[in-house]
């Protein structure tokens, strides 16, 4: 009955529905910001600022030269690090996943590397590479690659045996087998790995700049804090949050595209 109802929804019902959705989406955030604004006019806590002050600080701090000097290089390093991790992680993962002896030799080693909290690699990278841009990218890669690599190995290893036999029996070429069987079959796991890598990479971008930098987002925020520039510090936290959200949204879009078949299939089998 509900199916018929939504199928024949009249324009007015549709309008109501859209309004309801919007209300649900922005209701709580608007409410929260409102309460925050009211509360900030009365509060005497000097470490918390009101939304208006925060917005002003945001505009003054980040819109202008700071964007090119601090934000863009950080984001650039983040993206380079992420893409390198994906490329290396998937490539190595396919090789290790397809080749059983190699997998068995490397498994404990990889488990160990994955278990190292990635930020402790920052001092090591500083020692080996000095305080450079390369070092920051290397740090991001050395932390973000593990979830991608291990998930790819797992995904490749679990390629369905009948699907593989089909490929062999039809003499599908190595190239097609890689691009049309192994990688698509592993893609749900690969995307899981990339999602985990995303947050690790962001953490490492910030920490590596807090540690060893004289520019960049992480450095700026730490600088504001040390000099008690509270509103500016908050604006930096907000900006980092925004970058995280944008990254998550972009990833969500890509994931839905890449894994459309997977989600579709899951829906069918659940029904």
């Amino acid at each position: 009955m509900t199916a018929v109802g939504t199928g024949r929804a009249r324009p007015r019902d549709l309008g109501v529905q859209v309004a309801e959705n919007v209300l649900f989406a922005v209701g709580l955030p608007v409410l929260a910001v409102g309460l925050w604004a009211v509360w900030s006019t009365r509060s005497t806590n000097r470490f918390l600022v009101g939304p208006r002050t925060l917005l002003d600080a945001f505009r003054q701090t980040w819109i202008g030269p700071a964007f090119a000097d601090d934000v863009l290089p950080s984001v650039y390093r983040l993206l380079i690090g992420l893409f390198t991790s994906i490329l290396l992680g998937v490539a190595a993962g396919v090789v290790i996943g397809r080749f059983r002896p190699l997998r068995e030799i490397l498994e404990p080693l990889l488990e160990f590397f994955r278990a190292i909290p990635p930020p402790v690699l920052i001092p090591v990278a500083m020692l080996l590479l000095g305080i450079t841009d390369t070092m920051k990218v290397v740090v991001i890669v050395s932390g973000a690659i593990w979830p991608i690599l291990l998930n790819t190995i797992e995904g490749v290893r679990a390629t369905d045996s009948v699907m593989l036999e089909t490929a062999y029996s039809f003499r599908i070429s190595r190239w097609d087998r890689l691009w049309r069987l192994i990688l698509p079959a592993a893609s749900p796991r690969i995307m899981t790995g990339v999602r985990q890598a995303l947050s690790v990479a962001l953490i490492l971008m910030v920490i590596s700049e807090m540690f060893a930098s004289s520019a960049g987002l992480g450095y700026r925020i730490a600088y504001f804090q040390r000099n008690y520039l509270i509103a500016e510090m908050w604006s930096g936290i907000l900006l980092l949050g925004l970058i995280g959200v944008v990254l998550a949204v972009v990833f969500g879009v890509v994931e839905r595209r890449v894994l459309r078949w997977y989600h579709g299939m899951k829906e069918v089998t659940r029904a």
């Binding site: 649900f24 160990f112 909290p117 804090q225 959200v245």
Partner: protein
């Protein structure tokens, strides 16, 4: 057996390569010390009480942070997951707050709590909370609709439904969240010590670096890796146990 042997061979091979790189002069031993030196130092460290005190400090903030995060996530997640209205109303807020990198809060935590464990706990709790919370929401939402209707038609009270229906369904999800949360909490416990400077393994890493003590630094990296491995192994075991139970129940249902 073959697997264990090959894995051991892999570890051994790695150590040999590590030892060879400074020996052959590919990298200056000041930057990459000999593996033998690093493990020699570690052997000394484990006889030192100060080392174990640092381990205890790090693991204490890890445990407190994880516990607080889990309790908060289970309470909030169950309530929000069970009430569709709340689920819809909080969706955007959750999706916005979740990707905020917890380390962005470090300056704020330092301002509010100073260079202490409490500042570190803010970061740990924030990061671990989302891992558990999201899984609890999934788990609670996964309750079979037929089972839910059945429970309702038999007049089970809310508390009974929670006890006999929601909890068993959500448990494996909670365990997955716990495993992810435990790993993240350890990362941030060490990170906070490095950046904030509250005592523990992380601070020792930072001190070794600034003192130019490469041997000590690499040793501590190995130690944190071992801790991470331990946490992973323990929580994966717990997760597998709860999952095995869950799947056997599912399999029974499938065969009717």
């Amino acid at each position: 057996m073959r697997k264990i042997l090959l894995g051991a061979a892999g570890l051994l091979g790695f150590l040999v390569v590590w030892q060879l790189i400074p020996t052959l002069g590919l990298v200056d031993p000041h930057y990459l010390p000999y593996a033998t030196d690093v493990f020699g130092r570690l052997a000394e460290e484990v006889r030192d009480l100060a080392f174990w005190r640092r381990v205890r400090l790090t693991m204490t903030s890890w445990a407190i942070g994880l516990t607080v995060a889990t309790l908060a996530a289970v309470a909030l997640g169950t309530v929000i997951g069970m009430v569709p209205f709340l689920r819809r109303a909080t969706h955007t807020t959750v999706e916005f707050l979740r990707p905020v990198p917890s380390v962005a809060l470090i300056p704020l935590a330092v301002l509010m709590f100073g260079l202490q464990m409490r500042a570190a706990l803010v970061i740990i709790v924030y990061a671990a909370f989302w891992q558990v919370f999201v899984q609890v929401i999934y788990g609670v939402a996964d309750v079979d609709t037929v089972a839910r209707d059945t429970a309702r038609s038999f007049g089970l009270t809310r508390a009974e439904r929670l006890r006999y229906l929601v909890l068993p369904t959500a448990l494996p999800y909670l365990m997955t969240g716990l495993r992810l949360g435990a790993a993240v909490a350890l990362i941030l416990a060490v990170t906070a010590e490095m950046v904030i400077g509250n005592p523990g393994l992380g601070r020792m890493i930072e001190l070794s670096r600034s003192a130019g003590d490469a041997v000590g630094l690499y040793g501590l990296v190995v130690v944190t890796g071992m801790l991470g491995l331990l946490v992973n192994v323990v929580f994966r075991f717990v997760e597998r146990r709860s999952l095995a139970w869950h799947q056997s129940v599912l399999a029974d249902e499938a065969t009717r």
